[in-house]
């Protein structure tokens, strides 16, 4: 195996011919050899990768429209939506992006990593159907409740604020569906191991996917611990929900679930480094231990949401913010080195060895799979990572909690980081799994730059506005009609305008992603042999 990069001719042909390679466990007639990469693709897995990816992109579009409406409302000069619809759209945006889009896509990533990279079939088509249908039904219920105004409770639905019981039931169905998908992934790993479809240790990308899967199980159990009692409370079975307990358990779900995104994103980084430039992992041990840290020190982030809460002591907050010396942060800092280093080493070996950054200049910036991945790495590290650790410092949270600094942070992790990485990998998923050529290739090549620019603007605008105290999830910075006059420094108008304009740019970038993807999947030229290289 050298490199999968289709631009490197003859790079792949030798793989299937290698007699020493272990054999796959595919059912007769239910697999194919990829003409581009030489990988064996299980056709059942392929179908579910496609279904989950399509559902993900639909949710991304819905969430994106909500995002644009929200951004244009927070831009004071436009102030588009009425208050009621603003709060409704914030709720819809959070749910459809942070839950629906990301998790549908992650299930697709897990099915890919468990089957294609391990030369295995998917463990159960039935389980995959049940998982997918539950996720679609659950997600649909949530969206319906929000859009009909029966769940104006924000993504967090902090009790005693109450939504319609079907809203909570929808979340539970979606979560159980996800859990079934994750278990199906683990079952796939099990049968691959049993049938000896791979030798020795699993590839690093699979290792990262397993990390994400393990964290997902832990997170979904926290989800059950909070959403099931809350659902019963909404049904009137349980009389009271303690607001502090709700917050504690909810964030046992809420923040570790972001660690799923981080683990999945980092896996996609390694995958794209390998596919686009033939990136080599410097030290397998280092990268794997760093993944392990995500599992072991995951709860770290849960406490970040309770740093200015009553009832949790300073000792508890400091301990839970930093226990084991920020080893989850260390893990991200390690990947932040090993991933670009894998690119640098590969490009230097290919002859781009001039100076400190000659390799960076010679990188394939016209390949959206590469540019999206590298921009994701930069935005996640330089904006997301730095702001996240700082805002999550116990005392510093006093000047950040519930201000726009918080969404300023997570739009650079979960959007500029995870979402952009998932977009980047789509430029290979569509030709290799859907076997369709992308139309509008010039737009594709530009897309990561437009989206990254828009998200960076949104993130900066929010962060600066938030440092003047501007509240998140807030309709009117003028406080019209309030009992006591209030307002912000005049400069926040500039920062909020940056959020609005950045929102337009990012939404443009989103459309530049969705339209070619839809065009390729439904109308793209069929690929029989090799995909056209980017």
């Amino acid at each position: 195996m050298t490199t999968m990069d289709p631009t490197v001719e003859g790079a792949v042909a030798e793989t299937p011919a290698d007699a020493a390679e272990p054999k796959g466990n595919h059912l007769p007639g239910l697999s194919r050899i990829c003409g581009t990469t030489g990988f064996t693709v299980d056709l059942t897995a392929q179908k579910f990768i496609q279904l989950n990816a399509v559902a993900a992109v639909v949710c991304l579009l819905i969430g994106g429209i909500a995002a644009l409406l929200v951004a244009l409302t927070r831009w004071p000069a436009v102030h588009l939506l009425p208050a009621e619809w603003y709060y409704r759209m914030v709720t819809l945006h959070g749910l459809s992006m942070l839950i629906l889009w990301i998790i549908f896509f992650e299930i697709a990533v897990l099915y890919f990593a468990g089957t294609v990279l391990l030369k295995s079939r998917l463990a159960s088509a039935t389980a995959a159907w049940i998982s997918f249908i539950m996720m679609v039904v659950g997600g649909g219920m949530v969206a319906a409740m929000v859009l009909t105004g029966k769940a104006d409770v924000m993504f967090t639905s902090y009790a005693p604020l109450k939504a319609h019981q079907l809203y909570y039931l929808g979340v539970i169905l979606f979560a159980v569906g996800t859990l079934i998908g994750v278990i199906n992934f683990f079952a796939t790993i099990y049968i691959a191991k049993r049938d000896k479809t791979y030798k020795g240790s699993v590839p690093l990308v699979v290792f990262g996917a397993i990390t994400a899967g393990i964290i997902a199980v832990a997170t979904l159990l926290h989800g059950a611990a909070i959403y099931i009692p809350t659902w019963l409370w909404a049904l009137g079975v349980i009389p009271n929900m303690d607001p502090a307990v709700y917050r504690l358990v909810f964030w046992g779900l809420g923040h570790p679930s972001q660690q799923i995104n981080v683990a999945a994103m980092v896996s996609v980084w390694y995958l794209l480094s390998a596919i686009t430039v033939g990136g080599k992992v410097l030290n397998q041990g280092v990268s794997r231990v760093a993944f392990l840290f995500y599992i072991l020190f995951i709860n770290l982030a849960s406490a970040h949401h309770l740093l200015v809460d009553p009832g949790v002591s300073a000792g508890w907050k400091i301990w839970n913010t930093s226990y084991a010396m920020y080893l989850a942060v260390l893990a991200s800092m390690i990947h932040g080195y090993t991933v670009p280093a894998s690119v640098e080493v590969a490009l230097r070996k290919q002859g781009h060895d001039k100076g400190l950054f000659g390799w960076l200049g010679a990188a394939p910036w016209g390949n959206p799979g590469f540019s999206g991945f590298f921009l994701s790495l930069l935005i996640f590290g330089f904006i997301g990572g730095i702001t996240g650790v700082t805002l999550g410092t116990e005392q510093i949270n006093i000047i950040a909690h519930n201000t726009l600094r918080i969404p300023g942070h997570f739009h650079s992790t979960v959007v500029g980081g995870t979402t952009l990485a998932f977009m980047a990998v789509t430029y290979y998923v569509v030709p290799l799994i859907f076997r369709r050529e992308f139309p509008l290739r010039a737009i594709c090549k530009l897309q990561p730059y437009v989206f990254a620019l828009g998200i960076a603007m949104v993130s900066f605008g929010m962060s600066f506005a938030g440092s003047y105290g501007v509240s998140r999830r807030h309709w009117d910075i003028e406080f019209t009609g309030a009992t006591h006059a209030a307002g912000y420094d005049a400069s926040v108008h500039v920062w909020l305008a940056l959020v609005g304009i950045g929102g337009i740019v990012a939404f443009t970038g989103l459309l530049m992603y969705v339209l070619p993807v839809v065009g390729a999947v439904f109308f793209g030229k069929k690929i029989d042999g090799k995909m056209t290289p980017w």
């Binding site: 195996m1 050298t2 490199t3 631009t7 490197v8 001719e9 003859g10 790079a11 033939g278 080599k280 410097l282 030290n283 800092m333 932040g336 080195y337 670009p340 280093a341 640098e344 080493v345 590969a346 230097r348 070996k349 290919q350 002859g351 400190l356 950054f357 000659g358 390799w359 960076l360 590290g381 330089f382 990572g385 730095i386 702001t387 650790v389 700082t390 410092t393 005392q395 510093i396 006093i398 000047i399 440092s467």
Partner: protein, 57 residues
Amino acid sequence: MAKQEKAADVIEKESEHHGDEAHKAPGTFVLTLILLVSFAVYYFANWKALADVWHVR
């Protein structure tokens, strides 16, 4: 293309003799140092901003 093909062979060789030589990634190291410096500047600027607000326990 011919040049790249050759390059791919080099990677192949390298992955067979993994770890025989230290991997050189000086550019990445400089990038991460820039990250660390920006991190420290932002982090301590926030402590400074915190020190300016009302006292609270």
